[in-house]
């Protein structure tokens, strides 16, 4: 039997969206903490490396201040790590998806050719953009 939290999460799109937001925030935060623990780095040390304050780092890691992608990059740079980002569909789980039937092969008088998963203009390159 699933729990009451799972039930709430699937009760509405609004709830599911909120959960998706909180999951992403928590996963990023946990990954940063894991890296900090492995390197034996405190929040103070991280702040020093970033040229920032401990207060700022605390706010970002606690979620009381929104973490921008730039801040995430700065944190990873300070930890000498590189973040990896993947946007996956739940059903496809990162598999390549075919574009067949999804992209028009001719549009605005431009001809396109499809090679595998890539669609590229055949002529009029200067107009293609």
């Amino acid at each position: 039997m699933t729990d009451f939290l799972e039930r709430w999460a699937t009760e509405s799109d609004e709830n599911a969206k909120l959960v998706a937001q909180e999951l992403l925030i928590a996963e990023v935060t946990e990954a940063i903490w894991e890296a900090m623990e492995k390197e034996g780095i405190s929040k103070t040390e991280l702040a020093n490396r970033m040229g920032s304050t401990k207060g700022f780092v605390s706010q970002v890691l606690s979620g009381s201040r929104n973490m921008t992608l730039r801040t995430l990059s700065d944190i990873c740079f300070a930890l000498e790590k590189r973040p990896t980002i993947a946007v996956k569909g739940e059903s496809h789980d990162g598999e390549w998806q075919t574009l067949a039937g999804k992209v028009p092969v001719a549009a605005n008088d431009l001809l396109y050719k499809r090679t595998g998963n890539v669609v590229s203009p055949m002529d009029h390159w200067q107009n293609a953009a």
Binding site: D3, F4, L5, L18, I25, A26, T29, E30, L61
Partner: protein, 137 residues
């Protein structure tokens, strides 16, 4: 039994619906009580945060951020119990089971009134621990 299964842990609740309760609508009384202490406009955020914390705990086996998770006190066997923090004031007190491998029990939820862990919450965690870990097979 009301529980949530992740890839590493099963999260099981010490509070379970009674025989006449509808499991499709039931939620732990301590959760309802704790959330009701917080302004209604914050309820959805607290629910979503608790779902996220619970999912990561179940799939990773632990939480690392001190903003999400604290080692809160000791059990009679010397092992610690923990607090999951979906909000600054709401706690889910729980522990890893020695008896049931791969199970994390949530003893109960509470609204934290002061800074320190209250003896009432400690006693409730320990009572639930005794009921499960020390009961006869």
């Amino acid at each position: 039994m009301l529980e949530y299964r992740g890839s590493r842990l099963t999260i099981r609740y010490c509070e379970q619906p009674s025989g006449d309760a509808d499991p499709a609508t039931w939620q732990p009384p301590s959760w309802q009580e704790a959330v009701n202490h917080v302004p209604a406009k914050k309820h959805n955020a607290i629910w979503a945060k608790m779902v996220a914390r619970r999912e990561i705990l179940a799939n990773k086996g632990q939480l690392r951020s001190p903003d999400y998770w604290n080692t809160e006190g000791d059990l009679p066997d010397g092992k610690p119990f923990y607090a999951i923090k979906p909000d600054t004031k709401i706690r889910a007190y729980g522990r890893y089971s020695k008896r049931y491998r791969g199970v994390f029990y949530i003893s109960h939820f509470a609204f934290k009134k002061g800074q320190k862990l209250s003896s009432k919450n400690t006693m409730r965690v320990i009572t639930n621990w005794r009921n499960i870990e020390e009961q006869q097979p």
